[in-house]
């Protein structure tokens, strides 16, 4: 499926992007810009881990949908609850 070499490369990317997240924090950017960059990096890392380490990329798509449903439910709760405060 996937060579050990690719796994190692992905591991390196994850390692580096975690470092970048902290560097962004120290770079003194505008808060919401930094927020956006950091969250996008987190999401990208999560997708990499799920796709390759959990090999969802090579499984039937139904498993991806299954987890996505859980994710959508959690996001719906979070966003709707927060919106209700406005």
């Amino acid at each position: 499926m996937v060579s050990t070499k690719l796994y190692t490369a992905i591991y390196a990317v994850l390692f580096v992007s975690a470092t970048i997240q902290v560097l962004v924090e120290f770079a003194g950017l505008n808060y919401w810009l930094a927020f956006g960059v950091i969250m996008v990096l987190s999401a990208a890392k999560a997708v990499l881990v799920a796709a390759y380490f959990q090999h969802l990329r090579f499984e039937p798509r139904s498993l991806t949908y299954l987890v996505s449903i859980g994710l959508i439910a959690a996001l719906a709760l979070t966003l709707a609850a927060s919106y209700s405060l406005l």
């Binding site: 050990t4 999560a46 859980g70 719906a76 405060l85």
Partner: protein, 847 residues
């Protein structure tokens, strides 16, 4: 139940073609070790009926108190006792009676309807039952610890925190619910895997019987809804036991947070308890009108719509909170939307009756009665869905009357289901005359009890006093309560007597019943079918054991996917030995057995742990002997729990033999892997609830005014590095197992374990540092969210480390080289824990 029945064919060794040592139904031991779905179903039904009686007696106490309007303490119940009775009645009936009663039928009937020999993970099924029973016992214990929870079944904050409900019993009740949710989660994973993976050939979802359909949708809702409840309950437990301040008065929007978390679960819960009743209605209507349901496809589509929509209506329970008007309007619209598919279902049932020829048997009378009650309950609910009307009705007996018509209406259908399937379960017919007498008394009692509550709607809910002019209506209701309750005596007498001396029941006593459970003997043999059921030619056929491929004749080597899946870490090789417990090198043992004592022991252990933790306040045990006794109980329970987990992993166990069948949408994926992913999907919602609670609280607090608790992100970054590396070593472990490199496998697993320990040590140092600075869980809501969310994650790491240690030890002795699935499933879990951290790190350390 029916051990004296000579026709009984599932009495263990009699027809047991595997010759394993499985005690007969007459033996007490059988009921402690059984993993058979039909046994578990009967256990669920009997236990849930016990809780019906308990909840019913509490309701009687309330109705006696309400006979005349009187001030607090003027009669049998003191004010606090009344509040406890109200709260415990609601909790017991909704959680410990209604759903488990339905799941008794689900356990018994669904595998039969879909042509499976058992559920995918039989031991997990037994575990679900025992967790359920022990959670109920724990709830019972709470009455004796200074009094049980008294803040209403919705457990609204801040009444639910120790400031207002200080009794130890109140904490125990919350912990009992936690244990109950554990049972539900295990059960959901099991049913979903079974129903999606193990249907008979040709039995597509389209052709699945309607009762099974309702159960399928129910477990899907349960999987996600109960995960949200678990998040809510864990936070509440932490507020009560550890002293976090999520729901405290001084926390921003703490009370509102509870209502969001609770009702996100609570509204789907309405359909979770009602759908199985709907399924019974559909089955019984079809059988006793002699007609297939009108618009079957649309009926199913309507149910699917309701199941999805049920997650988008929860704020209609919150119209009187401070949420904004726009969101109220939005949820009023979605609420009206969800009533539409129900209209379709009700009309389909009515039209089925009109087109068919009705036979008024006891089951039909009950489900027909249920339909009438549900129509009344449904229409009165529409009033509550309108924002303006809810301003008036909220917190009154209108609500009480409405949801009793809906929920007890559902019970009515389930009672019909009990009569309907009784001949199948016992092999005996019930007494038809007494059944009809039961219905008559029940139906009169029901309406005498609940209808006056609509008339007396101005009575404030949950309050023991009311305006004197409403007294006649309350007196009628009290009389009705006794009539309804006593009607069950007729049922208990009828069913108990018939189970022993009723007329023997044929395979299909109902003539027009078409689902597969009626094609097998009453009661069905241990493995349900004498061969492999198939719908290849559009109808049920059973292919003899000898006619199919050699898969089945080697019953001691469970074929394919079902082997290891139970518990995820089972052995996987051939040579059958005895049922004795093997020692650690048991990779080579796969003894055939249907029996396991460990689900029982494991549940007992979990019960002891939670009981032991119940008196905690601010993370400290009470001083003196009592505190020491509780602490000992918790530790002892922990040892029992861990020990039985290991024993269960090592135990040779004979799961159901997996035949090729319908497996949409998970064909080509192992049962074990499907189960793991389904569990992870619910865990996503659990963490989603925690992270959602954090985001919500921070939003209410003022997002940018909220400083992260750790002043320095570097320890968090180091932990990110550690976890990422440990994920990488798990990947290497799987690669090594697939290449059959024992040394590399052991090294990688060992490295994962060491890295996990490193993560915990680093976290421990960081926490220690914060404690020294005087920052504790109860310091403020910022520190509460930080410690609890990262603490939940750490608990996941610890659970993972226990599994990693187990895997390392087994790998050391040569396991997993032939079959690497256990390593793979562990990896799925571990990577998930890693992913969660990838979000916790920025949210709690950087932003």
């Amino acid at each position: 139940m029916t051990d004296t029945n000579p026709e009984r064919t599932d009495g263990g060794t009699v027809t047991d073609d595997h010759g394993h040592d499985f005690p007969g139904t007459g033996s007490i031991k059988r009921w402690f070790v059984t993993t058979n779905h039909k046994d578990v179903g009967i256990l669920y039904i009997v236990t849930s009926l016990f809780f019906l009686v308990l909840g019913g007696v509490l309701a009687w106490l309330m109705r006696i108190q309400l006979l005349v309007p009187r001030g607090p303490g003027e009669t049998i119940l003191g004010p606090l006792a009344y509040n406890q009775a109200v709260s415990a009645h609601g909790l017991l009936m909704v959680f410990w009676f209604l759903s488990p009663f339905a799941f008794g039928f689900a356990n018994y009937i669904v595998p039969l309807q879909m042509g499976a020999k058992d559920l995918a993970f039989p031991r997990l099924n037994a575990l679900s039952y025992w967790l359920y029973l022990f959670s109920g016992i724990l709830f019972g214990v709470s009455f004796f610890q200074g009094g049980t929870f008294s803040g209403g079944w919705t457990m609204y904050a801040p009444l639910s925190v120790p400031t207002f409900t200080p009794d130890v019993g109140a904490s125990t009740a919350v912990l009992a619910l936690v244990l109950f949710v554990a049972s539900v989660t295990v059960s959901s994973v099991n049913f979903l895997t079974t129903m999606h993976r193990m249907r008979a050939e040709g039995l597509t979802l389209r052709s699945l019987p309607l009762f099974s359909w309702t159960i399928l949708l129910t477990v899907w809702m349960m999987l996600f809804a109960f995960a949200a409840l678990l998040a809510a309950l864990l936070v509440l437990s932490s507020d009560r036991l550890l002293g976090t301040t999520y729901f405290a008065m001084e926390s921003p929007a703490g009370a509102l947070l509870w209502t969001h978390l609770f009702w996100f679960f609570g509204h789907p819960e309405v359909y979770i308890v009602f759908f199985p009743a709907l399924g019974v209605m559909a089955e019984v209507f079809q059988t006793f009108t002699g007609r297939r349901i009108v618009g079957r496809k649309w009926f199913i589509i309507a149910m699917v719509l309701v199941a999805i929509q049920s997650f988008a209506v929860w704020m209609h329970h919150m119209f009187l909170t401070s949420i904004n008007l726009q969101v109220k309007t939005l949820f009023m619209i979605t609420t009206i939307g969800i009533s539409l598919p129900f209209d379709l279902m009700v009309f389909a049932l009515i039209y089925t009756m009109l087109k068919g020829k009705i036979r008024f048997t006891t089951p039909f009378l009950f489900v027909f009665g249920a339909l009438l009650l549900f129509i009344i309950g449904g229409i009165t609910g529409v009033f509550l869905g309108a924002v303006v009307l809810d301003y008036e009705f909220r917190g009154t007996y209108w609500v009480v009357a409405h949801f009793h018509y809906v929920m007890v209406g559902g019970v009515t259908a389930l009672v019909g289901g009990l009569y309907y399937w009784f001949p199948k379960m016992t092999g005996r017919m019930y007494d038809e005359f007494l059944g009809k007498v039961h219905f008559a008394i029940y139906f009169v009692g029901f309406n005498l009890l609940y209808f006056p509550l609509f008339v007396a709607w101005e009575t404030p809910r949950r309050v023991f006093d009311y305006a004197p002019e409403l007294a006649p209506w309350h007196q009628l209701a009290t009389v009705g309560g006794f009539v309804l309750g006593l009607s069950f005596l007729v049922m208990f007498y009828n069913l108990f007597k018939s189970a022993f001396v009723g007329d023997p029941a044929p395979d299909n006593p109902w003539e027009y019943a078409h689902t597969a459970e009626w094609a097998v003997p009453s009661p069905p043999p241990l493995e349900n079918f004498d061969g492999t059921p198939t719908y290849r030619n559009g109808h049920l056929e059973v292919i003899e054991a000898g006619e199919i491929a050699p898969r089945r004749d080697r019953s001691d080597t469970p074929a394919g996917s079902s082997v290891s899946a139970d518990g995820g870490i089972a052995a996987s090789s051939k040579t059958a030995v005895s049922t004795e417990l093997p020692t650690v090198e048991s990779t080579a043992v796969e003894g055939p057995s249907h029996a396991s004592i460990w689900p029982f022991v494991l549940s007992l252990g979990a019960f002891l742990v939670l009981l032991g933790l119940s008196p905690l306040q601010e993370a400290a045990f009470p001083s003196g002997m009592a505190g020491a006794a509780y602490a000992t109980t918790a530790v002892g329970g922990g040892v029992v729990t861990l020990g039985s987990l290991v024993a269960m992993g090592l135990e040779p166990f004979h799961g159901p033999v997996f035949e090729e069948g319908e497996a949409w949408p998970f064909s080509g994926i192992d049962n074990g892997k499907v189960g793991m992913w389904i569990f992870l999907a619910s865990d996503v919602v659990l963490f989603g609830g925690f992270i959602g609670a954090y985001v919500f609280t921070r939003f209410a607090f003022g997002w940018t005014g909220w400083e992260p608790i750790p002043s320095d992100p570097i320890p968090g970054l180091v932990n990110t590095y550690i976890l990422l590396t440990s994920s990488f070593t798990v990947v290497l472990a799987l690669v090594a197992a697939e290449k059959q490199h024992k040394g590399a496998l052991v090294t990688s697993l060992g490295a994962t374990f060491v890295l996990g320990i490193g993560f915990l040590v680093n976290k421990g140092l960081e926490w220690q540092h914060l404690f020294h600075e005087g920052i504790w869980l109860s310091t403020n809501v910022r520190s509460s969210t930080f410690f609890l969310t990262t603490g939940l994650h750490a608990a996941h790491v610890i659970a993972g480390l226990i599994i990693a240690l187990y895997l390392t030890a087994r790998a050391w002795r040569g396991a997993y080289l032939e079959d690497s699935r256990s390593v793979e499933y562990f990896g799925l879990y571990w990577h998930f824990v890693d992913i969660v951290w990838l979000f916790l790190f920025p949210l709690f350390y950087i932003l």
